[in-house]
């Protein structure tokens, strides 16, 4: 690979990384963040490949774009399921206890 081509590829990958990382920060929904994070992992893997660090790129690809988003998605599923489980999110049996847990003080 010639020097100029490498420079262009590195520059493109750097822009991709910057865009994906900014998008991950600006996104407020954890599910979408996990997907953007996955894309960020992919861009970083590309960057590392162009910088001739294939070992790091492989690690980044496996961990950054597969395992981490999966763990975030599973965590979001667990956290979201609890309040909305088996009924509308507001009201229902055991709501008083939930309110206490949420605010750290007993419901009035």
């Amino acid at each position: 690979m010639t020097g100029t081509l490498t420079d262009v590829l590195v520059a493109v990958a750097l822009l991709l990384v910057a865009a994906a990382a900014t998008a991950a920060v600006l996104n407020r929904d954890p599910v979408r963040q996990a997907l953007v994070l996955s894309f960020l992992g992919l861009s970083l893997a590309l960057l590392f490949t162009f910088l001739q660090a294939p070992d790091v790129a492989l690690s980044q690809l496996a961990v950054g774009s597969a395992v981490t988003p999966l763990m975030i998605l599973l965590t979001v599923r667990k956290v979201r399921r609890r309040p909305g489980d088996g009924g509308p999110p507001q009201g229902g049996a055991g709501d008083g206890r939930r309110g206490a847990g949420r605010d750290g003080r007993p419901p009035r």
């Binding site: 496996a62 961990v63 309040p83 489980d85 206490a100």
Partner: protein, 261 residues
């Protein structure tokens, strides 16, 4: 400490770090150059020990002790996750219902599973020869198994993934690394020194202890990631808390509830 004081302290510390960091960066070799003082030395040492992947030589030969530390970090992190995410007395376990999977997704998953598994094992086995190694391959192997969760459902995954052997495998991988290091001591050399015959350059058996340590890490990482993901999957799919109030920071519902309380 007052907010102003804290800000002042932070700015003072940040200024010192920024100054030192700038000085350190000015002393670095130029970006993207063909020669690097450490790179040249590491490659020479790797070739001397018949390891064609210089990175593997750095990880498992020249800096094998650092890798032991990293492996132990992962081991302890998985252990911590297991302890934190275990089923507590006020949580109950229920069997998730079989999930319907659309045929194209099922076919794709079942097709990709053996391919991904083979790629992962290949990357582990060729760690001393080509880019990759125990860590990268181990993660690929572990995630490959979870394609079954996408292609079928959780119960199918649990059937091919009885957790006990993976827990044992993780510990064995960690222990194998230490034992290989101690074997070098018994052979009359230093801890984790490369004492085995180096073999023929660029063959599977080359590199002395590198393939052994690499395999130990591969086993530890594959089993560790499986155990780690199993804890998250258990909590997300199987375990239900006694009260719904475990989470207190999800956005949209928070304010409404607070008003009502």
């Amino acid at each position: 400490m007052s907010p102003r004081g804290r800000l002042g302290l932070f700015l003072a510390g940040a200024a010192v770090v920024a100054a030192l960091f700038t000085v350190a960066c000015l002393g670095l070799p130029p970006f993207g150059g063909a020669h690097h003082p450490y790179g040249d030395r590491a490659v020479r040492a790797a070739v001397r020990h018949h390891t064609s992947n210089a990175i593997a030589s750095v990880n498992f030969d020249q800096r094998a002790l650092d890798t032991l530390g990293e492996e132990t970090i992962l081991f302890s992190a998985v252990l911590g996750a297991v302890v934190l995410l275990r089923q507590t007395a006020d949580e109950r376990r229920h069997t998730p219902a079989p999930a319907a999977v659309r045929p194209p997704i099922r076919r794709f998953g079942l097709l990709m599973l053996p391919v991904a598994l083979a790629v992962g094992l290949y990357v582990v086995a060729h760690g001393q020869l080509s880019p990759g190694g125990g860590f990268q391959g181990g993660v690929v192997v572990a995630t490959a198994l979870h394609l079954l969760y996408i292609a079928a459902d959780y119960r199918a995954l649990e059937r091919v993934r009885p957790l006990r052997p993976y827990e044992i495998g993780e510990a064995v991988g960690e222990a194998a690394y230490v034992i290989t290091g101690l074997a070098a001591v018994l052979a009359g050399s230093a801890f984790l020194a490369n004492v085995l015959p180096y073999g023929t350059f660029a063959t599977l058996s080359s590199g002395g202890t590198v393939p052994l340590l690499n395999a130990a890490v591969g086993m530890e990482v594959a089993c560790g990631v499986v155990v780690l993901l199993a804890q998250f999957l258990d909590q997300a799919v199987q375990i239900e808390g006694a009260d719904g109030g475990g989470s207190d920071d999800d956005g949209p519902r928070g304010p409404g509830r607070r008003e009502r309380a």
